[in-house]
Every structure is written in C-alpha cells, then in structure tokens.
Symmetry: C2
Amino acid sequence: MLLIMPMKNETILISHGAGGKQTRKLIEQIILKYFSDKILLPLPDAATVNITGVEICFTTDSYVVNPVFFPGGDIGKLAICGTINDLAVSGAIPLFISCAMIIEEGFSFLMFEKILKSMSKIAKKTGVRIVTGDTKVVDRGKGDGIFITTTGIGLKFKNVQLGKQFIKKGDAVIIGGVPGMHELSIICARENIKFKTGLKSDCAPLHQMIEEIFGVSKKIRFMRDPTRGGVSAVLNEIVSGADFGIEIYEDKIPLTKQVRSLCEILGFDILNLASEGNVVIIADSKDANSIVRTMRKNPAGKNASVIGFVTDEFCGKVILKTKFGSSRFIEMPAAGQLPRIC
Amino acid sequence: MLLIMPMKNETILISHGAGGKQTRKLIEQIILKYFSDKILLPLPDAATVNITGVEICFTTDSYVVNPVFFPGGDIGKLAICGTINDLAVSGAIPLFISCAMIIEEGFSFLMFEKILKSMSKIAKKTGVRIVTGDTKVVDRGKGDGIFITTTGIGLKFKNVQLGKQFIKKGDAVIIGGVPGMHELSIICARENIKFKTGLKSDCAPLHQMIEEIFGVSKKIRFMRDPTRGGVSAVLNEIVSGADFGIEIYEDKIPLTKQVRSLCEILGFDILNLASEGNVVIIADSKDANSIVRTMRKNPAGKNASVIGFVTDEFCGKVILKTKFGSSRFIEMPAAGQLPRIC
C-alpha cells in the first residue's frame, strides 16, 4: 500500500490541503475514520440529504486564497461562485448560502467592504440568497487577512442522478473551457507577472449553463468542477477503483496561446491547474454534440469541447494521447502545484 | 447617533468579533449594507428558509477558540454543540452538519485526530450527522492551529414560533444554569489558573432539553444561547427597540461559590461571560414553573431558574435588582471580556 498512516510526531503540511494525493490520504485515512457517515462517500462535492421527502444538496468550502484580490475576482466572488458550482455539479438548484468570516485584526474596512460588495453582487445576479453568517476576529499574526467559509443548500433536480457508478464505457468526456485559468491568474497576481493581454481567473457561476445542459440530455452521468488538483484530479478520482479507463486527446483540450506559453515558461502541466468557472462532464456520447452546443451559448462554456472517452482499456487509469501520437498516463497530482489558490 | 461609520483608514479590531457593541456595529452598519436579505433580520442565530414547503433552519459559526483544548471540551466539541444549540434555540431539530477546517501547517496529527474524535463522539451521541466537509491548510504563521466552521441544517418544529415580536409584558425570563462557565474555563486554561474543584466549560448539546420544553409549554416566546457577550448581550438584544423592559434579580441568578469568587478575584461581571451549554428563555409566566421543572431533569438544566420578568417600565432597558435592594442598568457589553472564547 502506497499511502502510509501518519507517524505519531507527524504534522499537517501544506500539501495536505492542496487537493492531490496527500489531501486524499488525509481525508480517507484520518477524517473518514471519524466522520464515516455513508452519505459522505464517495467524497462528492456536496452531500445529498433527505428532509421529510425533499432532496437537498448541502456543501461547504473554506476559502483561504492568497492574494484575496486577483485578476478576474476576489475571495468573496470565489466563495459564492464556488458554492454555487458545487451545488450545480451535484445536480441541484442553488438556493441559500451562509457566510462565516474569520478576519485578522488590522484588516482594512475598505477591503472588507469591497469583498462583501462582490459577494452581494454575485448573489443578486444569480438569485442565490445569503441568509445567515458569522464574523470572528483573530489576533494579528494568527490569520491572513480574511478567510471565508460559505455553505450552500440546493434543491436536487428531479430525474437527475449523477455519480461515477452511472458511467458507461464509450461515454464522452466534455470540458467547459480552457483549464487552469484561475490558478494561472493567482500565480501571476502572487508573482506580480503582468501580461498585456490581461489573463484573468475564469471564476464564474455555472448553475444556469448546467441547468440548460440537463434540459438537452437525460444521460449526464457525472459532473465536477476541476478546482484544486485540476482536470487530472477529477479524472483520476473518476477512474479510481473503476472497471474502466479514460482516454483524452491533447489536441482536443481547449487552450489559448497565452495559457500555453505561460505553462511552458513556468513548467506547469495545464491539466493539474485549478479552474473556478469550468466543468468536467461525463455523458452518453450520443448526447455529446448537443451538450457542447448548449454550453457554447454560455460565456462560461464558449470553448466547450469533447476531450476524450471512457474506455475499457487501462482500467483505473487516465491516458493522454499526445499531439505526436504517443501516450502517457495522467496521474493524480502529488500536491497542487501552488498552495492557497482557493 | 452613538455608533459611527468607520473612517476610510480604519481597520477591523478584535472587539469587532467579541459579540458586543462593536460586533453589532460591524453587522448592522457594514455587513447588512450588502447582505440585506430580509430573512437575515433581526439577526437570529439561524435563518429559517422554506424549501418546497418544508421549513428548514440554517446556521453557521466559525470557531477560533484559543486554546483549542480546555477543561470540559475542545474546539471540535464546541463547534458541534454550538451548531446543535443554535438550531435548537431557533426551534428546529438538528439534523445535518457540515465541517470546514482551516489548519495551520505544522499542526499535529495527534491533536487533529483528537478533535475529530471529539466531534464524532458528540455527533453519534446526539444523532446529528456530519455529512460533508472541507479541509484547507494555510502556511505556518498564517493561522492558529485549527479553525473550524460548522454549518447546520435543522427541521423546524411545527407549531413553534419564536421571536422577540411574540414577547409580552409579564413574561418570565428563565436561565438554564450558572452563566459564564465556558468563558471562565477558557480564562483559566489560557492563564494556567488551576482549581482543586475543577471548574470546566458547560459546553453541551441542549436540543433534547429544548425539545422537552416545547412539550410542556406552547407559550415559549424566545430562546437564545448566551454565548459571546453572555446574558447581558442576549437580554439587551431582546429589549433593543422594544416597548418593554426586562427586570432581573441578582439573588435569582444561579451561581456557585467558585464562580462567584473567581469573578470577584478577576473583576468580571458574570452576566457578560459566555456560556456554551446554557439557554435564556422568555415564556409566559404561567408556564414558568413547569418549564423550570422540565429543565431541571436534564444535567444541562439542573440549575434552571426564573431570574426575572418582562416589564412595562424602562422600555428598551435591562435592569438588575441587586441583593441590597438597589437597581442598576445592565448594558450591552462594549466588547467581550476576553477574545476568542469560541
């Protein structure tokens, strides 16, 4: 067994929160030992719970992004969009959000208000209601500006059942747009790299586009937004323990010249980078074209593409066919390429 | 107007998170400017939302208590009990909890597991299910061990309507037990004050006791757990803007010798200190005795007492009749007496 239990004197590392192998190890070997509620498994973005016959999705995320303002958004927009998207990819209509803030003493009121304004703007635009919250202040040097935890409640779509157990050989793998835009924008903001062309985070709410997709296909099997760990983490989670593999084609992955050059310069694998306005969909290949057409009508899906298929070869593996005709395995990232991107 | 908008160069202070006047100012003047959803008002512990006819309570709190282990509990127990209690005092049966953790790099796995174990223990004991979560890790020096945000969903009791608008003159003010035990235990843990008698936090889930109370009285008007800002903050929030006052009697407030001496030595006002297993109830005075009897059957309510009444004098004010026959106003605490108690 590759994953080893922590030693008594081991401590938690940045990589445990980066969305890759170490995060999985932390969740599976430590957290699930105590929180072993069956509805938690197999680690969906949101839990589905039944309250007197009403099926509700319930999701939470803490946002610790650094810096809190970045091209294309800020921690507030990120938190609301992230929660909306987690509900949407779970097959639910986002309804209500709670917002708990941990603020470091000395954080400026102006920045605080700017963040609240941005949350309120997205909430109004999407019709999602921020209905309850909490504010804590911690001593200077015991926090980092502001951390925001948003929790969302959504109403499950009737007749939509998503899960990796529904995936069939031959299904298409669809992506909503150029991967990694969010993580690249954080890298640029953090390292003060500026581009004339203005690269920015793809951070956006996806629930409307996703609702439209459910309208054109009854054979959506699985959806996930590729945040921490990127497309690689999502696809590897899908094939983990499955009796199928996934094959994707390098030349089908939507890319811009700018993103390609930036990845080449910085030595990043685009498939490992986080998006915040992107989605990976597995659906019956017969419906793939109509799904892609529907997605392309939305700004968030204008580069939507079929990037591969579910195969009966290489079970449990993700394979990339390169532009040069060769093949390589895409692994679960060992750690996120950059910490604190969300 | 006493409360003044912050200046452009003002920053957030510890007192803004302490549950007193400054917290109220932050919420009313800044946060509600953006999160102006009407169901947020008048700042209940939980929002009540209606999903296809089902009334659900929804509450969130970040826990940043320092130290994370203290006599009578730890940050994990505190988070689960706090969320259960916020739902219970809102008139809901606690059902599901989400748990988002922000961990500082270098936090020990052993302590982490101890906290998870404690959360899991309380969840199992109470039948509340921890169904989803999130884990983020921040750099060393950018957090403080561990922060936990728990969000809870509860099913609203039918025929229970709570709110300060239902309070009537003559109603009784009931308290569940000795106030301030939680904050005093944190003070002792932080200052390394040790007592032979073993003072500890009252941190406990109250939902069962509260359910029993709803069983004996249909005239419960209002409930709140006196956490940050203590009993003073709860009572002042109740009378704020109301056409009634509240009169409480010093000799009716349940106290232990130990708590009284500790407050005298440290110069604390017991009414300003936080509890985590206590409840303030306003109910029809005719039902007061049966409510108190029911509470006393529970370990968390064994010192339950009627401590005062709603009056038509001194509207908008809380008055304490002292043991010596004199009277004084109880004010909303300017700030919590100690920061980071929850």
